[in-house]
């Protein structure tokens, strides 16, 4: 007995803050990543409220145009690199080992380092708000020559992007090594849950493109401080080259943010339809096809720079092709629901919201890929509406779905279903009030990234701002539900949690998960997660 207690103590977490600083436990790190991303979502969300407050009515009311530009720039950097990406890394940490029967991530110390880099990077980026010349204001795309006009913030911006890149790459290497080496016996690649598959492919994309971004921002740095002229026309350089390099990173980045979301939704829909995922292997192939195609479509972000017509044609056809595998995924999800036995708990609601609203974002993507018409859409609010549809009710809704889905497993407590549903419905209504009118604004001719606008755009901007504030306030319902669930306020969760849940974490592990899972390696040879024939 006393031996057992000593044993438990030895394997339990260290008390206090040092537990979190020194932890190499994948669940601790998963939780840290998720909490960090929540904090960044709040910071980035507050920045978006500054934007929407200024755009609430025409005329300049609250901020200087330069600060407005800083807000759009920082909002994007915080949401993309601080919110969405760490959130998915957190999920990968929490879920991949338990889904594959592995004791932990393969490189636990690297894992710790990868996380603790992030608060440093974002602390540094946030501090630029108080620097001479203000925070970066050239857009998150950092196009030179404009980004060369950044003040003292420039080196901090570049260095924080380097740090984020290092963090992402350590996370990606860890995912690849874990999946390829630490699967329990019998967990073949084609038996893995879709979340592991989508993350494996995402990890390869990350390793392929994050160094490209690092290279691009390093060239900006040397252009500014060391007299090089990579992107300065006056010195024989080429400002458009930066855009090619940036979007070679930037377009795969889009899929880095959405492929894990596909994985999440591909696991949740079968659970609540009580039916096997339709077309498992085609889902895997479609994910790989999207990833491969994503590195040959970058210049569809650059149709207005004056590409040769042959290049414009190539990138139009290539960009359109991406919607084929993406369509396959949507059709598979619908086929999974078809003749299922569906219930609509909060994770399912967010997943269904994801499928519909992400698809609407996909439709506007299809429109944007029409090069001649893109000249009208490009850099207008239509684009803003497009990428927010795929990122907010896309990636972010999948994160909500994932948290509601796995939280009872993580904490052992069932969240409050009524509040969850309320959160879903209010979020869905307000996200549409927020972003749908932006389609009209863009089509009517309102450019993006402007702090003030002519009066014909007033009504839809007003509506959009109302939606933004309402959406932000709605998230406090989520925050309350999350905190109370973590504190065990609600009902205890069962081990399987959901009636239709299949998978190692639901069928073989208790809720809450013990601090260490699989101290003994499980044998999954007889385990059939989904029929293969």
């Amino acid at each position: 007995m006393s031996h057992a207690e000593a044993h438990d103590h030895h394997h339990g977490p260290e008390p206090g803050f040092m537990r979190w600083l020194k932890t190499t436990n994948h669940k601790d790190l998963g939780a840290l990543y998720l909490m960090f991303s929540l904090a960044m979502f709040i910071v980035g969300g507050l920045m978006s409220l500054v934007i929407r407050a200024e755009l609430f009515t025409p005329g300049m009311q609250f901020v200087d145009p330069q600060f407005f530009n800083s807000m759009t720039t920082m909002h994007a950097l915080f949401m993309i690199f601080g919110g969405v990406m760490p959130a998915f890394t957190g999920l990968s940490n929490y879920l991949i080992p338990i889904q594959l029967g592995a004791p932990d991530m393969a490189l636990p110390r690297i894992n710790n380092m990868g996380f603790w880099i992030l608060p440093i990077a974002f602390g540094m980026l946030l501090s630029t708000l108080f620097m001479e010349g203000g925070a970066p204001a050239g857009g998150w795309t950092l196009y030179p020559p404009l980004s060369m006009q950044t003040g003292d913030a420039m080196p901090f911006l570049v260095f924080s992007i380097h740090l984020m890149g290092i963090s992402s790459i350590t996370g990606a290497i860890n995912v690849i090594v874990t999946i390829l080496n630490l699967r329990a016996p019998g967990m073949d690649l084609m038996k893995m849950p879709l979340f592991c598959w989508t993350w494996l492919i995402t990890a390869f994309l990350l390793i392929a493109v994050m160094p490209v971004l690092a290279g691009a921002v390093t060239m900006l740095l040397t252009d500014k401080y060391f007299g090089t002229t990579f992107f300065a026309a006056a010195g024989g350089g080429d400002p458009v080259m930066f855009q090619h390099i940036f979007w070679f990173f930037g377009h795969p980045e889009v899929y880095i943010m959405i492929l894990p979301a596909f994985g999440v939704v591909s696991q949740i829909i079968p659970t609540f339809a009580r039916k096997t995922l339709f077309g498992y292997s085609s889902m895997v192939y479609a994910t790989a096809a999207i990833a491969l195609a994503s590195v040959i479509v970058w210049a569809h972000h650059m149709f207005a720079v004056g590409l040769p017509v042959a290049a414009e044609l190539f990138f139009m056809f290539a960009a359109k092709m991406i919607s084929v595998p993406t369509g396959v995924k949507v059709f598979n999800w619908v086929a999974t629901m078809w003749r299922g036995s569906m219930t609509f708990e909060t994770p399912m609601l967010f997943s269904l919201g994801f499928v519909i609203l992400f698809t609407i974002g996909g439709f506007s993507g299809l429109m944007l890929a029409m090069t001649p018409v893109d000249f009208q859409y490009h850099d207008s609010y239509f684009v803003v509406a497009h990428f927010h549809y795929v990122l907010v009710p896309g990636a972010v809704f999948s994160l909500f779905a994932a948290v509601y889905y796995w939280l009872p497993k993580w904490t052992g407590t069932m969240y409050n279903e009524k509040l969850g549903k309320l959160h879903f419905w209010l979020s869905t209504i307000f996200i549409n009030v927020l972003f749908f009118p932006q389609h009209f604004l863009g089509l009517a001719g309102m450019p993006r990234r402007i702090p003030d606008y002519s009066l014909q755009f007033a009504e839809f901007n007003f509506m959009s701002s109302v939606g933004a504030f309402a959406f932000f306030i709605t998230q406090f319902i989520f925050l309350y539900n999350l905190i109370t669930t973590c504190r065990g306020k609600w009902e205890k969760a069962t081990d399987q949690v959901w009636e239709g849940a299949k998978g190692v974490e639901w069928e073989m592990l208790p809720s809450p998960l013990p601090y260490h899972t699989f101290e003994q390696q499980p044998d999954l040879s007889d385990y059939e997660p989904h029929p293969t024939h």
Binding site: D64, P145, L455
Partner: protein, 285 residues
Amino acid sequence: MSSAFMSRTGALMSKLAIAASLGMVSQAATAEYALNMPVGVTEISREVYDLHMLVFYVCCVIGAVVFGAMIYSIIAHRKSKGAKAANFHHSTVVEIVWTAIPFVILMALALPAAKTLVKMENTRGAEMSIKVTGYQWKWQYEYIDEDVSFYSTLSQDSNFARQKNSGVDLESVDNYLLDVDNPLVVPTDTKIRLLLTAADVIHAWWVPDFAVKKDAIPGYINETWMQIDEPGTYRGQCAELCGRDNGFMPVDVIAKEPAEYQKWLAEQKGETASVATEQNVALAQ
């Protein structure tokens, strides 16, 4: 504040009610309520509009099929109605079909788009050329071979009203943020080539009515063209983030009948000379 709030809400509500009752694709509604892309005043802009509507309708049809199936399933195949889950989980034939059909649809969309694109990029046979240079934050227009050149900046009224808490009633400002001091004047029914470049950072010259948007990039000379069918004033804005006052460098184009344009040009030639002298005097002082 509250009355402004109410009138804004009221205007919004009536706009949405009208949009809903007419259907969002109705021409009348789109023209008056700016829900849709302008049809524009060039052959290209009309083709672009048609392509835009084509791809929009295709998306509507796909959406109706996919969301229709999904919503039917959500209503009919729910556990609370006693639905029992079926057991099917893959079908190679179905997968091939729903890979092939979208592929065909995409090709059908891309081919007419390619045709228009090639037309848009063909600047040959232009009857006149204007060099457009973007600055932080104004445009310069140089009429090539005509010795006419001027800068085009945000109008004084707008510039005054847009200062933080200026207290100016924006309704009283003509075309708030869209009027300039010296608009670009061009002839109708003439193929006009624009040569775009920039002196500091990247800008983009955009007039929705012409379906023309092209980046003006330092060190580059980009080409585009337009042939305007109807006289009138056409407005756009800089569409590439170019720093603090990106939102305050509109593009104004006045299209005149060729004869009137020639008259305007002749006046300008006289004026440019005198303005140049004035500027020299000012500089000397």
